[in-house]
Structure formats: structure tokens, C-alpha cells
Symmetry: C2
Subunit: 422 residues, 2 copies
């Protein structure tokens, strides 16, 4: 019979924490990885090569072979335009990580039996490199992305690494391609950086891959933070939820995205930008598409609040932009507005609207940056949210401006990490 | 305010049913596909090429280049050994499906920005080709796999097709490679067939792919239906669930597999074969690993029952083996045993064990076929399940025998579809 008393033999409900604890580079700064094989009670430990950015080899593309397109046309086609180079690192369970390679951008070769193509053994990150108004090239809090990538990688049973090494590799790609592809003549522009890890072992059967590939690309990505009239959200259909308690909604794994497309496509055909994903019979607001979601309202007691879903349910992504919004608002809007991370329902949003307490709403993430939300449709009810002058509310605009100033070097801040260009 | 009355404007909770209804080949047998683009109220319809097996082109590999390995060694490495050929068909949103190609087995070339590598836009099927004791080559209910593949494909926002055409392509691959790779000298052996569809559009950004690839491989796969001592299951840790109502547990999409590996690896390190996935605070039994799960018990009233989870929650896969077990048991064990598809909890299993009512249990699926379960560990409780003589219970053995006889031609049955060898 089911017992709740100290189940010593229970399957660890902390598998991910255990995995993270096993990452030696995170615990003592030591650079060696270990493969722990537990088989029938015997534990064998082999020294594996850790991810090591200092081993990076560079094979340059012909710099005259490709021209940098206009920003306007760069995102007009059905194909992402990447820069001259990419970084790749292979891993296998018997030897660990190979020496990273920076090489000309091009196709990957995968066997049809590769794990990633069948079992979604894949995760990724998204961040940007910014050309500052002071001429410098910056990343925004890349350490946050690198740490989250480790968490996602382990959640999807791909190999761990020292996130500081991933950060160095991201910097290396930007250092090589940034000068040409993000020229000083285009201050205020950016490149989109996409690190990813995929399971490449060519073996069918549901198992943790024994071979993997880490790769990083840099590319153009359209600006999505200022859609005319603001972002329009439609709540999800009742029979489709994005993530659930005990799932993996907090990890940036492919499995969170593909299944969300069906509802998103349908919402777009109706003129909406994204799905506002509700959770549970209570209808808790979680994410707006693949962005975090914020509401500014007056509480019933009249307090001005900036409200967003909490992280501790592990339903939503721990967004770098989300985190930055929360931290800056707490620091710079103290006394004016209270930042509240808590579960809140769509009914609370509808009620605030009816009672005239809804002030602003916005989505926050790397792709949409800080994007004002002007409308939410839930079933047969429409909420129209004030947008303010210039199609952006005053608090949304303030926060967006602060973060943007850090990204583009108008404000010197530790979050803006300058890249030395080669 | 939220309203429950006839929400005409609500986002369809039937998006998948709508998509399936749009498949022209399914509705009127007509071979043309259509692309329906809804933009700002205007609907444009373009005729797209449907998936058409009659357009198959064949480019043969050198038949002497590779030898067929012994069955014993074929599955001993870390790489799946495929047959000489594979089938590939490309799709793009503007023209539809290309002419299918049967060509030498080899790697796929994908851009690093390909949708499948980031957003898990992927789904697959698994079925087997059997070399019968009568010398014939057979598939087992391939129409079921083809229809399920269509459902999975649409759920993950990949392009639809007429499942009958997919079935013909599967047959074509087996017809070409079956004679060499599944020789008449090896009756009772099989090849594993893996059709898959992946999103190949090389564009970052969360969107339904405008380019896709369907491919089919045939390979060796280890026998997993007779592990010494039977299959041992461990219930999932409390903070990890496989699927949830409103999710996609019923579809064979990659997103169901990668996230399950973390718990599975941990269970294997403890000597268990698979996770028994429970659902909800009630602990409903759903699947055993990636197989369906059956229990034979005596009800409290003394009736002998074969119990398995129902399909209508959309939590579990509509397994072809599951379906065959249910249908054959209803037909051939009527009067002896009642087949019950209903929600049942792990506590009911534990209670039946304590009261001596537990008779047998088995997992059913293409990979494990019909595999006796000898043990379930739930928290700190172990259930030991009778295995019977020959390490298999009598009902499990009967059902397994019937299905096996159909697969290998000992019984002529409509489910065993003979392939004409070339």
C-alpha cells in the first residue's frame, strides 16, 4: 500500500537537481567532467573531456563571398540568413566534448536514425548581440542564457557542461562575425544568437543519446516589439494547454514549441498575434506565446501593481527579459509601483478591466523584447488594454527604455557585456 | 466576463478535427491537396501536389556493397543498422509533396536553423515487417499506423497526406529490401520500419514549418519481449508526469519522448526496465514506458478482467498492439474474461495484489510486443506479479500467441498484409 513516510527507495523526484549537482565545473571550478555509469550496483567513473572554449579552432570563410543584406530585406524570405560562421562541438558518452570548431556556416549531416529527429532530444537558447550607439558590441546578460541552457540540456537528457565555457563560445562567434554583420554604421541594430544542443546518436529506441552536437549560429531576426496597434492575444482553446505542473514548461526544450503551433496558427488566422496560455480550471495566466506576460493594474485597494506569473510552479520559462523587468522595476519604480510575482487568473484580468483598474499589459522575451499588449480575447469577451501615447503605456515604455539603454550602451551597466571585436 | 454559452467566437477547441476534415483524400478519395490560406478574411486556394506513391522513383544501391549481419550482432552496437534503401519525400507549402524517392540509405542534410532541430516539429511511426513461417513477408495492420501518423503529423503542424499513400510507400520499401534483409532462411524474424515526418524549413522563429521531409527506414531492432524475469516497472517520480489532459500524449510526436528520458534513465540505473506513468493526484495508470499497459485481475466480485487505460482522455497512445489485444481478447476470451477500458489507479493494483486478486500484467507495443510484467515498484511498495510457467502468464501467452501467429503467417488473418517481394 502507498506510504508517504520517508520513501528511501522512492525514485528521486529530484533527478534534475542530482544531475546539476553532478556537474563538476559548477561545483568546484574544476574543468574535468565525469561519466558515472551505475550498473548493477557497480559504479565506474571515467574522465571525460569537458566543454573547453580555449580549445576552439578557427577555419574562416572567404569574407568576400557573401554580402551583408539590408536590414529591411534580411528577414523578408522563408529562410533565416545567418552570418559567415557557426560554432560546432560534438560530444559522445565515452570521450566527452570535442574541441569546439568555428567554421563556415553550412548544413549539418544527420543520420535518419538520429535521436533528435524522433525523440525531440533538443534544447536551445536565444539571445542577441547589440551594436551600441557608442559603437561597441554587447551581449545582454549572456550568463543567464548559458545557465538556463545547462538546465534545459540536463532536463532533456543531453550532456552537461560548464555554462561559462558556453558563454565564451558565444562571445567568440560574435567577436569574429560581429564587425562585418553588425557594422558600426548600424547602431541600434542586433543579431540573433541561437545556441542549441541536439541528440545525434544514430540509434532508434527511446534512450538518452550517447552522441550529441552543440552548435551556435548568429542570424538576422525581424523586430517584433512594435506591431501596429500592439500585440493581440487569444486565450488557448480549452482542450490545449502548453505546460503542466510536473512537466517541462520551464525548460527551453523543443517539446514546448512544436505542440503549441496548432493553436497558434489558428489564432493567427483570426488576426491574433499569440496565444495567452492559461493553466488549470482556474485559468491562471502563464505565458503569451513564447514570451512572459506582465499586467499593470490597480489592486482593489488602489495599489499600482506590476503582476506576472511566478517561477516556482515550473510552468513558465525563467525569461532573462522577465527577470530584468522584475529587477529593474523593483529597483527603479519602488514607491510608485509594486512588483508582484504570483498566480493570477484571467478572471482577475477581466474583473480589473470591468472595474477600470487595468493600466497596461506587455509581453517580455528575447524575440518580442518588450511588446505592448492591446487586446485579449477570452472566449466571447474582449479586453481592450490602454496603450498610451506612441502606442505604449508609460510603465511599459519606461522599463523598455531602461533595458534598451543597457543593451545599446546608452547606460553603462554590468548587464551589458562588451565583446572585443577581432 | 467569462461566458459558457455558445461561444461562436471562441478559438476552436477542435483545431485538429478541422485539420483532419480538410484532408481531401480522406473525405472523397480525390487525389488533390489544397492549401488554404486565410489572411484578413480572404481565402485563397491553391492546388498542391498530394502525397502520391505512384510517382515513386527508384535508385538502387549496389546490392553487394553491404552484407546482412547475424541477428545476434545486428543490434549489439550504438548504431541502428538500416537496410540498403530508404524512402524520402519532400514537401513545401507552395507546391505540396514531391515525387517520392527510394534511394540508398544515407545521411540527411539539414540547415542548423531547421525547424525540427529547435521546435520538435517531428512525429513518427513504428511497425515491423515479419518473415513468416510460410515464407511470406507481412506487415501487421499497417493501415492503423498510417492513419495514426496522419493524426500525429497534423497535431504537430506538419503537412497532411492520404494515409493509404503512406502505406503504399512502406510496402514499397519492404518489397525492395525485404528479400535480402529478411531472408526466407530466417522465418520468425522481423525488420523494424520507421516512417517519420520532420519540419525542415531553415527559419528560426516559432511557426508551422513551410518545408518538411517524410522519410522511411527499415532496420534491425532488438527483441525486447522476453527479458529474463519479466519487465520491472517503477512508477514515475511525483514531480514528473508524461502527459496531461489537453496535451498530446495520444500523438506519436517527439515531444512525448525526450522529456521522459530523465526519469527513465534513473529507473534503469535502479534495475527497472521502464516507468509506469501515473496521472493526476489519483495515480491513474496510463503507460508503461512507451508501451500500453494491461492488468489481468479478479474484480472484488470475482469476475476475471483484462483492464487497460481508456483512449478518451487522450493521455495515452492508441497502440496498434493495444487495439489488437483488446479486439482479440473480446472475440476469443468472451465468457472467460471481460475486457475493460477504464481509468484505474495504482492503489487499485496494490489493493488487488494485497487481496490476492492480481493475476497477470503485461506491456503491449511494437517495440516490446507483448511483454510480461513481473514487478511494479510504487514509492516504497513492491508488487510482485505472477509470471506462470515459461515466465509468462496464461492469458498473456494466449494473446501473444494469437497475434504472433497472425504476424508470422501461422494463421491467415486480414490483419496480416502480405507484401509482394521484388
Amino acid at each position: 500500500m502507498r506510504s508517504l513516510q520517508g520513501p528511501v527507495e522512492d525514485l528521486a523526484s529530484t533527478a534534475l537537481e542530482n544531475k546539476i549537482a553532478e556537474q563538476p565545473a559548477l561545483n568546484n571550478g574544476h574543468a574535468n567532467g565525469h561519466a558515472n555509469g551505475h550498473t548493477n550496483g557497480t559504479t565506474t567513473t571515467t574522465t571525460l573531456q569537458p566543454l573547453d572554449a580555449s580549445k576552439l579552432t578557427i577555419r574562416r570563410a572567404d569574407p568576400t563571398a557573401r554580402e551583408v543584406p539590408d536590414e529591411d530585406t534580411a528577414c523578408s524570405g522563408n529562410e533565416t540568413i545567418c552570418t559567415d560562421h557557426m560554432i560546432t562541438v560534438t560530444w559522445d558518452a565515452s570521450s566527452g566534448w570535442s574541441a569546439p570548431e568555428l567554421k563556415p556556416y553550412g548544413p549539418l549531416s544527420l543520420m535518419p536514425t538520429a535521436s533528435v529527429l524522433h525523440y525531440a532530444t533538443e534544447c536551445f537558447e536565444g539571445l542577441k548581440a547589440y551594436r551600441g550607439y557608442d559603437g561597441k558590441l554587447r551581449l545582454f546578460r549572456p550568463d543567464c542564457n548559458a545557465r538556463r541552457m545547462l538546465m534545459s540540456t540536463l532536463r532533456i537528457s543531453l550532456p552537461g557542461f560548464d555554462p561559462a565555457e558556453l558563454e565564451k563560445l558565444i562571445m567568440a562567434l560574435v567577436a569574429v562575425d560581429g564587425t562585418k554583420w553588425l557594422p558600426k554604421s548600424r547602431p541600434g541594430s542586433y543579431l540573433y544568437l541561437r545556441p542549441a544542443v541536439i541528440g545525434t546518436q544514430p540509434q532508434l529506441g527511446v534512450q538518452a543519446p550517447k552522441e550529441a552536437l552543440l552548435f551556435i549560429t548568429a542570424s538576422f531576426m525581424p523586430r517584433m516589439d512594435t506591431p501596429p496597434g500592439g500585440m493581440k492575444l487569444h486565450t488557448n482553446p480549452e482542450d490545449m494547454v502548453r505546460a503542466w505542473v510536473g512537466g517541462f514548461g520551464y525548460a527551453k526544450v523543443g517539446a514546448n514549441y512544436g505542440p503549441s503551433l496548432l493553436a497558434t496558427v489558428e489564432a493567427r488566422e483570426r488576426g491574433f498575434t499569440q496565444i495567452l496560455w492559461l493553466y488549470g480550471p482556474e485559468g491562471y495566466c502563464t505565458e503569451a506565446g513564447a514570451s512572459n506576460f506582465f499586467v499593470v493594474w490597480r489592486s482593489k485597494e488602489g495599489r499600482l501593481e506590476l503582476v506576472t506569473a511566478p517561477l516556482d510552479d515550473k510552468l513558465i520559462l525563467d525569461g532573462v527579459t522577465r527577470r530584468s523587468v522584475v529587477e529593474l522595476a523593483r529597483e527603479r519604480l519602488a514607491g510608485e509601483l509594486e512588483v508582484v510575482e504570483r498566480r493570477y487568473t484571467i478572471d482577475e484580468v477581466l474583473e480589473a478591466d470591468r472595474e477600470g483598474r487595468l493600466v497596461e499589459a506587455f509581453a517580455a522575451g528575447t524575440a518580442f523584447f518588450i511588446c505592448p499588449v492591446s487586446q485579449i480575447r477570452h472566449r466571447d469577451t474582449d479586453v481592450h488594454i490602454p496603450m498610451g501615447k506612441g502606442e505604449i503605456g508609460q510603465y511599459t515604455a519606461k522599463i523598455k527604455g531602461w533595458i534598451s539603454d543597457i543593451m545599446y550602451g546608452n547606460e553603462q551597466h554590468p548587464w551589458g557585456v562588451v565583446v572585443d571585436e577581432q
